[in-house]
Structure formats: C-alpha cells, structure tokens
C-alpha cells in the first residue's frame, strides 16, 4: 500500500495534478492530499531548507514580518549591551563567584539565550500569514533573508566582542577559556555564519524533526 503522505518534489506540488489520483480511483488508499504542507525532509544530519514556493513567498510578503522587523531598531541593539551588563551585575552579586566565573556565566547566558531566540525557535509567534515562516528561524527571517545587513553585523559582532572582553579576565585559566570559546563559537558565531544560512544540523535532544514544508 502506498504511503499516505507522499513525498513530492516542489514542481509536483501543483494541487490539481495530485487531485487526479483521487478522481480516477475508487480506492481511497491512493488518496493524495491536494496540497501537502506536511512533507518531512530527509532524515540526514545536515539538510537544507528549500526556497519557498511562489505561494509561500506571497504569504511571506503579505505583511511586514513583525517577528523580525524590531531587530533592526537601534533600541533593540542597545538592549543587548544592557542585558549583558545586567547579567554581569547579577552574577557578581551571587556569593562565592569569582570575577572570571562571573564573566564566563555572563557570556554563556547571553550566547545560549540568543541561540534559543535566534536559532532554535522557528516560525513567528503571530498568526498572520498561515504559517509561511514556520520553517525559518528568527535569524533567517531578519531583513527578509538579506545577509550582511547592519542588524546582522551588529548581532554577530556582539558575541565576538563579548568573547574578547571575557578573555581579558580569564588570566591563565585555560579551562575557562576553552569553555568560553566552545560556547561562543558553537552557539554564538557558527549558527550566524552566512555559510550555514538555511542549513539544519541535526543535534540529538536539541533539534526537532521538521513538521512543515
């Protein structure tokens, strides 16, 4: 018995064609959906999110993407610096935490927090376009997927800058340096590289399977 949800290529997505299978057979086991938005991508470790179909693209352009437009504002930039300062203050106030550990914690909190926000959660919290952005992370949604824009430049320079500042305070502690480097590189810098735009890397327990085409 053929599988219910067939994997169809982007060209075959035209709904009408698929209906043909329905009208000509009496056996409903062959029924294909008119428009399948639930295709699962290959289960390989690294996969590429395909370009949107014309329909998806139209839906994306229907309204400005409120999920990503605020990132461009200068006020939103300042907040990053304010947050970092407040995190540092917070960790300094904790008892029995030395300065180098406080810096490491600040770095880790900021970088992992921004990873969750920019690279882990997909789609938009608002429902205004039928889930047209459900495949893209917030980082990919910024500036309509234009790379090297001022907002992106700022957002990639902040973790780099923070890392450089943190290393100032680490003295000879190689272990803390390695931890900071690991977190900053894998959570703060690597996912933001243009090379990895629209690329999904499967990490056990962190990434979800794709639900929507």
């Amino acid at each position: 018995m053929p599988s219910l949800v067939n994997v169809v290529s982007a060209q075959q997505q035209e709904s009408y064609e698929l209906y043909q299978a329905v009208s000509n057979t009496s056996d409903s086991a062959d029924i294909l959906p008119i428009k399948d938005h639930r295709r699962r991508r290959s289960s390989s470790i690294i996969s590429l999110v395909e370009q949107e179909s014309l329909e998806d693209d139209t839906d994306q352009r229907m309204l400005p993407n409120m999920n990503a437009t605020w990132v461009d504002q200068r006020g939103a930039w300042v907040i990053h610096l304010v947050l970092i300062a407040m995190l540092k203050l917070f960790y300094n106030l904790m008892p029995r935490i030395t300065n180098d550990i406080a810096w490491t914690m600040t770095n880790a909190t900021y970088v992992i927090g921004s990873y969750v926000m920019f690279h882990m959660i997909k789609g938009t919290p608002f429902e205004f376009n039928g889930g047209a952005y459900d495949n893209l992370t917030m980082w990919e949604q910024i500036d309509n997927e234009t790379l090297y824009t001022p907002a992106r430049k700022f957002l990639i320079l902040v973790p780099i800058g923070l890392f450089l500042v943190v290393t100032q305070f680490l003295k000879n502690n190689l272990k803390l340096f390695a931890i900071n480097l690991f977190i900053s590189f894998f959570c703060g810098i690597l996912p933001k590289l243009p090379l990895l735009h629209r690329i999904r890397i499967y990490v056990p327990f962190i990434t979800n399977p794709h639900q929507i085409s």
Binding site: S3, L4, V5, E14, S15, Y16, E17, Y19, Q20, V22, S23, N24, S28, A29, I31, P33, I34, K35, D36, H37, R38, R40, Q51, E52, E55, D57, D59, E127, G130, G131, A132, D134, N144, E145, T146, L147, Y148, T149, K153, I156, L157, I160, G161, L164, T167, Q168, L170, K171, N172, L174, L181, I189, P194, H197, R198, N208, P209, Q211, I212, S213
Partner: protein, 561 residues
C-alpha cells in the same frame, strides 16, 4: 620591553614548536615598533599583552575572530531569497526587449462586436436584468442590452426561498431603519461600521440557531474563505467532501493546510481516510499536533444533496476532528422551524457542528453572511478573520430585516412548512417523470428547494463526447499551463444546450429557470453543468406543478429532437 614568547614555555601546558616562537616573537617585535609610533598605540599593546595571557594559541584564536569580525563588517548586503537571489543575469537591452514583447491580457472582457467574441462570450447576452425590485414571484426583466424584454415571468431561479422579504411588516421594518440609520455602513466592523443593530442581530442569530455566539459578515461568498484560513495554517489537516462549492474550494486553497478529499457523502470513504490519517500521524510522531477539520456543506450548492450529519458527528467525535458545515443553502430551509441541518436530523447544533457558515442572502432574503459557533471562536474572528476586519459591514436595514424575518419564523413556522411541502412536491414531480429521467438525473435531495437536473453521463457522452472526468482532466491541464482563459468546447456546447432549454421554457411558457452558474476556470474539483430550478414559499402548489409540467414537456421536446 620583552615579547610574550619568553614566558610561553612555562605558561602553556601545550608544547610549542620553537620555530613558531621565533616567528611570533619577531612579528610581535615589529608590530610593537610600529604601534608605539601611532597615537594611542600603547593601549593596543597593553591590551594584546593582557589578552594573550602569554599563549600564542589563544592569541591566534582571538586574532582570527577579530579578523572575521572585520571581514563580516566590511561585507556588502546580499539578498538570499526569492526573485533577487536567482534572477538571471540579463543585460539592460534584454530586459527592455522582454518588457516590449509582453502583452498584458485584457482585464475586462472585450465588448461583443465580432462573431468570434460573440460566440465566446455568449453568456453575457443571457443574463436577465430585473426591471422592478425582483422580490416578487412574477418579475419583469430584459436581456442582451435591452434587446429582449419579458414581462410577468414566473421566477423559478430565485434563492429567496422563504420569500418573507415580500411581506409588508418586513418592508416596513426596512423603511423605518432607513429613516433612522440611513443607508450603508461607514466601514469595517471595527472601524465604526458596526452599529447596535449589527450586534443585536448577532445575538438574535445565535439565540435562534442555539449557539453561544455569532459573527456577522458583509458578504456571504467571502465568509468561508475568510473563516477557514483564520483557524488553519500550514501543517493543519482538512478533510473535505469532493463536491463542495467554489466558495469552500477557495477557502481550502487559502487555508494553506493539507487537504484530503473524501467521496461525496460517502461515509465509508471518510472513515477509511480518517483511519489512515490517524495511523500515519501515529507513525510520524510530529512535534506538534495539527488542527483537524472535516469540511462539508448542508445542502450542496453544486448538487442539492444534503450531508449525513449524524454519521459525520459520530466520525468527528471518534477521530477528534472539528466539523465545519457551510449551510448557505440549508439555513431557513431544513428542519421543522428552518433551523437548518441539525434540526433536520433532530440534533443540537452547539454540540454537533463546531463552525457553521450561513448566508442571509438566500432564505432570509437580505444580504451578508454569518458564522455560528462558540464564544471563543466568534471572538477570535473579530481580530483574525480578514473579511470581518477589512470589509465593510452591512447596511443597517439589511440586518433589521433579518431580525424581523427570524422573529416571524420563530412565531410561526408555516412558511418553512409550505416551502418544504413545495420542495417535496417538486422533487417527486421531477422524479416520477420517466421521460425526463431518460435524459436527466436528479441529483438533489427531496428536502432541497433547489432541483438540480444533470444530463445523464451516457447522453453527455453520445451528444457532447466528454465526461465528468475528461472535462476535469482537460481543466487541470489548462490550469497547470496557467492558462486563465478557459474555453473547453464540449463543455460550452452542453452549456449552450442547457441555455437553449432555459430560453425555450422562457419564451414558450414565461417561466424563468437557470443554468447552474459555473466559473470553470476557478474550479478545482470535477463538475458538470446542470439545470437549476428553485421554488419559493410564495408559490402555490398548482402554480408550481403547472410550471414543472411545462418545464418537463419543453425539456423532453428538445431532447428528443
């Protein structure tokens, strides 16, 4: 000042080759020499000395990060998406040539002047334009730019089934409302468009049909295509009947959901499909559970059939789906008091149907549409439904008229009963004519006030050489090639044949019936032409039977020629 390399061997746990030490020492020495001469250079030197912590690996890491940061900062913006990213490299001349070459399709149909266009757009000349207000059962109308005119024609093409809008009390309400409120609403519901009468009508409708709440729309065709997309998105599942009307088809396309079709009113087909979907969902282990809907119609717009609600409700409960029913044609018609499909099956609307779409332009004789359901669903439409948010609300008199009509129906269900009696009479009349049934199939139900007569498949095959499937295949191939000017000759021939029947009945017996209106280029489901005869409660049985007799004689006469 000495270079950091002197302390290196002791500071770092990792051994460092001596060649590297000497090169980096030399590089550091000359860098220092250069930096000292620059203003503020000693700050840079002290930063580097501090940051390196006497470890060249750390220095290398930091230096490469800084270099990449500078590279990123200096890069130019680069579009990664859509037209910009895969635009072919054309020269200016090539672009100009392409633009010159392009000929836009006409937005409006050209005026009928030459023979060819006249043949293609023959439908335009067949549209009746009513002279008087058109609410009565006998109407005067003209066709073909006033070249033909007809008087006192019995209207068997009306959707105003209950004909309550003709009653003096309803007309008086309309008159009074126009005096009090004027005509026309200012704008959309949220922008001063809704007046007290709109909210009153929402309450009245909800109360009349026994649901928690109701949401009023300005136009009935746009209701489905606005409500379904408001509640669905990509990844959701919709299971729909495969003969739904164009309005619902549009809604399904706009819903962006995964749409499956079950065979028309075939509950085994539906159950099998739901079972399969259930199994595949278990197998897939998707991270989020999709919203799921069953979509069908009360009285089918395309065939006059009615949906088997009890079975649908049973299945929706079993498989945990929501039920959406477009009751455009069935509200005010089905059930002892005209409360629609659930009353017809002695069921409770609020527990059986989750979303009901109704129209006030059919049985209630006004205009606009509405959605019945629970409070949350109705409230959500006020912010999430495009047609509610962005299109103008109804004129005040259109709402008070419905209010009055509902009041009349609530007090006295005789109009509904009369209509149902007439519908049944009409159905059994057409059903019992053996001669007619040799040529035509009656697709509608006995409860439907609209009778659909479809040419028998064998007759269609022999006379026009096509079938439902072949028409659909051809339509698909046109749509796939993105040809919007759909002209399929055998289909046109059949439509013209049906129009000949309509014309003959009109000319010989002064009775107006109609072809079922099909906008073929928009259809996404198989469909064939049909004749459409509707009765209204204002008619007497004798009148109707006489008209039906005349219709049958004319049809049989034309078919046997």
């Amino acid at each position: 000042m000495s270079g950091p390399s002197e302390h290196m061997a002791t500071a770092s746990a990792i051994p460092i080759p001596s060649a590297m030490i000497s090169t980096s020492s030399a590089a550091w020495f000359y860098l220092q020499q250069g930096l000292v001469r620059l203003p503020g250079g000693h700050h840079v030197i002290s930063y580097i000395e501090k940051a390196t912590q006497d470890d060249p690996y750390r220095t290398a890491v930091e230096a490469s990060l800084i270099l990449y940061g500078i590279y990123y900062y200096l890069s130019k913006p680069q579009q990664k998406k859509g037209l910009q990213s895969n635009r072919p490299n054309l020269t200016k001349h090539e672009i100009d040539a392409l633009i010159d070459e392009w000929e836009p399709e006409p937005i409006v149909v050209p005026p009928v002047n030459d023979k060819e266009t006249a043949e293609r757009y023959w439908r335009l000349a067949k549209i009746p334009i009513v002279e008087n207000h058109g609410m009565t059962k006998y109407i005067d109308f003209t066709r073909d730019d006033k070249k033909e005119s007809f008087e006192n024609v019995l209207n068997l093409a009306s959707n105003n089934f209950l004909a309550l809008s003709e009653t003096p009390e309803v007309l008086e309400v309309a008159r009074q409302t126009i005096r009090d409120y004027g005509v026309g609403a200012c704008g959309p519901a949220g922008f001063y468009g809704n007046q007290d009468v709109h909210y009153n009508l929402e309450y009245t409708l909800a109360e009349f049909f026994g649901t928690e709440a109701c949401c009023l729309y300005g136009q009935d065709f746009a209701v489905s295509s606005s409500v379904i997309p408001a509640f669905t998105k990509r990844g959701d599942v919709i299971v729909a009947d495969d003969q739904v009307s164009l309005a619902v088809q549009n809604a399904l396309q706009l819903s962006r959901s995964t749409v499956y079709y079950f065979q028309h009113n075939n509950m085994e087909s539906l159950e099998e499909l739901l079972e399969q979907l259930n199994e595949s969902e278990k197998k897939e282990k998707l991270p989020a559970i999709p919203r799921k809907f069953i979509v069908t119609e009360g009285i089918f717009h395309n065939s006059g059939d009615i949906a088997p609600l009890p079975e649908l409700v049973e299945l929706k409960r079993k498989y945990k789906y929501r039920l959406f029913v477009d009751e455009t044609m069935s509200l005010g018609v089905l059930g002892a008091t005209g409360r629609g499909l659930p009353e017809h099956y002695n069921m409770d609307r609020s527990t059986s149907i989750d979303i009901t779409v109704g129209s006030m332009a059919t049985a209630f004789g006004s205009s606009g549409g509405f959605v019945l359901g629970d409070t949350f669903m109705s409230e959500y439409q006020h912010i999430g439904s495009n047609a509610y948010c962005f299109s103008a609300s109804l004129p005040a008199y259109a709402t008070t008229v419905v209010d009055k009509t509902l009041q009349i129906m609530d007090n006295n269900n005789s109009t509904v009963q009369t209509l149902q009696k007439l519908s049944r009479t009409m159905f059994y009349f057409f059903n019992s004519r053996v001669q007619l049934n040799e040529f035509f199939t009656l697709t509608s139900s006995e409860f439907s006030p609209v009778v659909h007569l479809e040419l028998k498949e064998s007759i269609r095959n022999s006379k026009f050489h096509y079938s439902r499937d072949s028409l659909f295949t051809e339509l698909l191939s046109l749509q796939k090639r993105k040809i919007s000017d759909v002209f399929i000759e055998p289909f046109e021939k059949e439509e013209m044949f049906l129009q000949d029947i309509v014309d003959a009945i009109l000319v010989n017996h002064n009775i107006l019936i109609s072809r079922h209106t099909i906008v073929l280029k928009q259809e996404t489901l198989p469909i064939v032409p049909s004749l459409r005869i509707s009765c209204t409660a204002a008619m007497t049985e004798e009148e109707l039977l006489n008209a039906c007799e005349n219709i049958v004689t004319t049809i049989v006469g034309l078919c046997t020629q």
